[in-house]
């Protein structure tokens, strides 16, 4: 199990563009990956519905977890999306 806790740098939080990029990145991987806010149940990082409902705001910390081949690489990619103030492109 790989785990990574990071701060949301996107000014609008994990919404709209950052959320779509985050979910697209997660969905490209064949392994399960979750995202959670502190003290809350983890949700499916491949679900745009779950990620929008999570409502991770600018400055909040979220924890990513994945298990299996490529888990570390996947979490690094997702962390890069979350670490951008204004993510661009797909």
């Amino acid at each position: 199990m790989s785990e990574r806790t990071i701060k949301v740098e996107s000014k609008v939080g994990l919404h709209a563009r950052p959320a779509a990029l985050f979910v697209q990145t997660a969905a490209q991987a064949p392994i399960d990956v979750t995202v959670a806010k502190p003290g809350k149940e983890p949700v499916n990082a491949k679900s745009i519905l779950a990620v929008l409902a999570l409502d991770a705001r600018h400055g909040e910390e979220i924890t990513l977890r994945a298990d299996g081949d490529g888990a570390d690489e996947l979490l690094a990619k997702l962390a890069a999306v979350v670490a951008e103030a204004e993510p661009k492109g797909a």
Binding site: V12, H15, A16, R17, A19, A20, L21, Q24, S47, I48, L49, L52, A53, D55, A90
Partner: protein, 149 residues
């Protein structure tokens, strides 16, 4: 089968008509968009269900089948931090399709230099899950925009 209704009256422009590539390229999901009639009004729930997320400028309603529909009121309207939007319901509320959720004035959004185009997006849906997607023409609030199987 979920029938997704227009949250606002106006002219259907399709997702491609949304001046934001995140929506226009269906990155958030498949669906359509409506250029709303100008003037004060209220944006409605696109389906009957529970409001799982409610921001002044955007909301998500999940129906009994677990289908979540995002309504995004205008582009870059998150920057308004709620100014010009009045919540008529609360997060966690159960709503009927067509029930008013947020009062706003598309003309005021436009006067502020932003597009008031409303994206209506099927969350976690494959593109082939939608049928009868409206891409043009005038709609009343509550008119069907697409069906989601």
């Amino acid at each position: 089968m979920t029938r997704v209704l227009s949250p606002v009256p106006g002219r259907v422009v399709g997702l491609a008509g949304v001046p934001d590539p995140v929506f226009a390229q269906a990155m958030v999901g498949p669906g359509t968009a409506v250029d709303p009639a100008r003037g004060p009004g209220a944006a409605a729930a696109p389906v009957a269900g529970t409001i799982v997320k409610l921001h002044p400028h955007a909301y998500v309603v999940v129906d009994a089948e677990g289908h979540g529909v995002l309504v995004h009121l205008g582009i870059d309207t998150v920057q308004l931090k709620g100014a010009g939007f009045e919540l008529l319901a609360a997060e966690g509320d159960r709503v009927e399709a067509g029930q008013p959720v947020v009062a706003w004035d598309p003309a005021a959004i436009e006067a502020g230099g932003r597009s008031p185009v409303c994206a209506v997006v099927a969350l976690d849906a494959g593109a082939d899950a939608l049928s009868g997607v409206r891409e043009d023409g005038d709609v009343e609030r509550g008119a069907e925009l697409f069906a989601w199987s």
